[in-house]
């Protein structure tokens, strides 16, 4: 079988894909080794990728180790999702200049750039779709996000190995790439199965010297992806969410989580979907110019719930409950989907190893008195 939407090529030929993307004007970005973690960076050669490395992740711990194999995509993921490429950590919004009569405003839209992301995981493709929903499909589409998103070409890699922190299967986001990516690869030792997910992806495939895939190759890929799904720890009590979380407002488990949580904001910084940001105005010393910038914020900061002299969420308990309830309950009401993709980064990068799966099941089983579900008629 050989169609223009799937095929195979020798893993050693991945360089052809890079070269083709570069020839089409893309800056190719892929996972690279940096300071003991995998981070996104510009790549030119396949050898820039962490070939022969794997990551070990568990609550509060991230380590890389060499395997001595030629595996290209052995590392599942690093601390960064795709979020920084579309919702920039710092995004200049406006340049405002003082004039004789007042001020003039100049929008600061990012320059259009074609970026090909090679090696995005299915959970991150799902995270990107959630960010699209927030920044592009609401009442006020964000032109900055739109500009960055427009130039993005996403090449996902289906997962054939799950980490102890992974729970994409429970969230329905993996380990097979959902729709929304341009190409999806499955690494089968020395063979790479490639499937197109968009017209741009099909166009690219038509220019690659692909071999036809076979029933046996498809079955093998499915088998490995299914095994990856099977090996994951499930998130318990999913069906009861989000109602059960609203009801658990007074659960004592929140105190327990708060006694461990440092409110360091790590979980929100590594989260593929967290969108909170703050807007800063910085003026030059001569008072003539102001730069308005938005930068990532976190609901764990003291300032997040501040309103004239009082903090709506003064305790870490309030903020942890806010974060978790938002992700797994309020998000459904706001955007019609969960705010979690099951990537497990908040578990790995939590310095004290708080596992959101444990917290949810504990909150749901501890004897928190139902409260938020009460209808006003019965108040």
């Amino acid at each position: 079988m050989c169609s223009n939407d799937r095929g195979v090529f020798p893993s050693a030929d991945l360089q052809r894909v890079l070269d083709l993307l570069r020839a089409k004007g893309y800056r190719v970005i892929g996972p690279t080794l940096h300071d003991g973690a995998v981070v996104w960076d510009t790549i030119v050669r396949v050898s820039d990728l962490p070939i022969g490395w794997r990551d070990r992740q568990e609550p509060g711990r991230y380590r890389l180790e060499q395997t001595g194999t030629d595996e290209i995509f052995g590392v599942v993921h690093g601390p960064q999702s795709l979020k920084p490429f579309v919702f920039a950590p710092r995004e200049p919004l406006l340049h405002i200049e003082r004039t004789q009569k007042g001020f003039s405003v100049r929008p600061q839209l990012p320059a259009p750039e074609k970026i090909a992301l090679l090696g995005a995981r299915p959970c991150d493709v799902a995270g990107l779709a959630i960010q699209d929903q927030i920044f592009l499909k609401g009442s006020y589409p964000d032109p900055h996000y739109a500009r960055r998103r427009q130039g993005l070409f996403v090449i996902a890699v289906n997962c054939t190995r799950a980490l102890p922190t992974c729970f994409c299967r429970s969230m329905g986001t993996g380990p097979r790439a959902p729709t929304g990516c341009d190409l999806a690869l499955t690494e089968l030792d020395d063979l790479m199965l490639v499937e197109a997910g968009s017209q741009a992806g099909r166009d690219l495939l038509s220019e690659l010297p692909l071999q036809p895939t076979s029933e046996a190759i498809q079955v093998e890929a499915a088998k490995r992806i299914d095994a990856c799904a099977e090996s994951q720890t499930r998130l318990q009590g999913q069906a009861a969410l989000p109602r059960a979380l609203y009801d658990a407002h007074d659960s004592q488990r929140w105190d327990d989580a708060a006694s461990r949580c440092l409110a360091c904001t790590n979980c929100t910084m590594v989260c593929p979907t967290c969108f909170c940001h703050t807007v800063e105005d910085r003026s030059t010393l001569d008072g003539q110019h102001t730069e308005r910038t938005r930068r990532w914020d976190s609901c764990f900061t003291h300032e997040h719930g501040y309103i004239h002299g009082k903090n709506i969420r003064p305790t870490i308990k309030d903020r942890y409950r806010m974060w978790l309830t938002h992700k797994f309950a309020a998000w459904h009401d706001q955007f019609g989907m969960s705010g979690c993709v099951g990537c497990g980064r908040c578990i790995t990068w939590c310095p004290v190893g708080i596992d959101v799966r444990e917290e949810i099941s504990a909150v749901l089983t501890s004897d928190g008195q139902p409260s938020l579900a009460r209808s006003p008629e019965r108040l």
Binding site: L93, F103, H144, I312, S371, R374
Partner: protein, 277 residues
């Protein structure tokens, strides 16, 4: 795609002193095209910007049928509002907006309106009251119940006296603490509920003030047969973007800036006045 981040330059054309630290600023958008295309609904707000200082969410209290100028009543409490208080006629500010959802003044037409306000946070409802009185014949009986902590906290004194003289209108004031010249009720605002009669099936209640007042007060009204869907409350949360993106103003499943600041009581009731929400 229109850019919701852009700040539009405006000029203060009038500044009216309400009290020592509260002023009403009448703003006019500088650019004629922007001014012509600017429309708002009663109860919406603008992000008001002062160059080099910052931005703050302020409700528009003037009439939506006259969007040529926009009135904002601002109390000097924080960094930005204190700086705004130093501005005079002719000075420039910026606005982004209008944002949010306001009072259900269309839906309230033909019905009686009970307005309950507490403390100093009554500015957002002043625009609604003036809106109703400019169209007096379209509404039924109007009852304004207003509570303050001490007699000195009563602002808009002249307005209350003017409203009291309107046809088919009752104004009831109360103070938690008594004062020498206080000739009104002494006690919390919910005590005023006992002093007014209303037909639960043809009344709309608009409420503005501390959340605890709403949490305690609304159930008292509901026990008199008022449907929870006839009560609207105006909420306050930290806002930065005004467009439901920055995340700060969340209250349960809602973004106060986008889904509010005025919300129907039955929707927000489970989250109202609860610590940590």
């Amino acid at each position: 795609m229109t850019n919701p981040h852009i700040v539009h330059a405006a000029t203060i054309v009038e500044k009216v002193r309400e009290t020592a630290d509260i002023h009403t600023y009448r703003l006019r958008i500088n650019d004629e095209d922007e001014r012509q295309s600017y429309r708002f609904a009663a109860g919406q707000f603008n992000m008001v910007y002062l160059f080099g200082v910052g931005e703050v969410a302020i409700s528009i209290v003037s009439d939506p049928e006259d969007p040529e100028t926009l009135d904002h009543t601002i109390r000097a409490v924080g960094r930005v509002t204190t700086a705004i208080a130093r501005l005079e006629v002719g000075d420039g500010v910026g606005i982004r907006g209008p944002f949010g959802r306001g009072w259900p003044l269309d839906e309230a037409q033909g019905r009686d309106v009970v307005i309950v306000t507490g403390g100093l946070g009554c500015a957002p409802v002043v625009g609604a009251i003036e809106y109703i009185f400019r169209r007096r014949d379209r509404y039924g009986a109007v009852k304004i119940l207003h509570g303050v902590k001490t007699p000195e906290d009563l602002v808009f004194h002249e307005r209350f006296e003017r409203w009291e003289r309107q046809p088919d209108t009752e104004v009831l004031l109360t103070s938690d603490r008594p004062g020498k010249l206080w000739r009104y009720h002494v006690g919390v605002v919910t005590e005023l509920f006992e002093m007014v009669s209303f037909d639960p099936f043809r009344t709309v209640v608009l409420m503005c003030g501390p959340e605890i007042m709403m949490r305690v007060g609304v159930p008292i009204l509901l026990r008199r047969g008022l449907p929870a869907t006839s009560v609207y409350v105006s909420l306050e949360r930290h806002m930065e973007c005004g467009i439901g993106l920055c995340g700060h103003c969340q209250m349960g499943p809602y973004f106060v800036c986008k889904d509010g600041p005025v919300m129907r009581y039955d929707r927000i009731a489970p989250w109202l006045g609860r610590p940590g929400i």
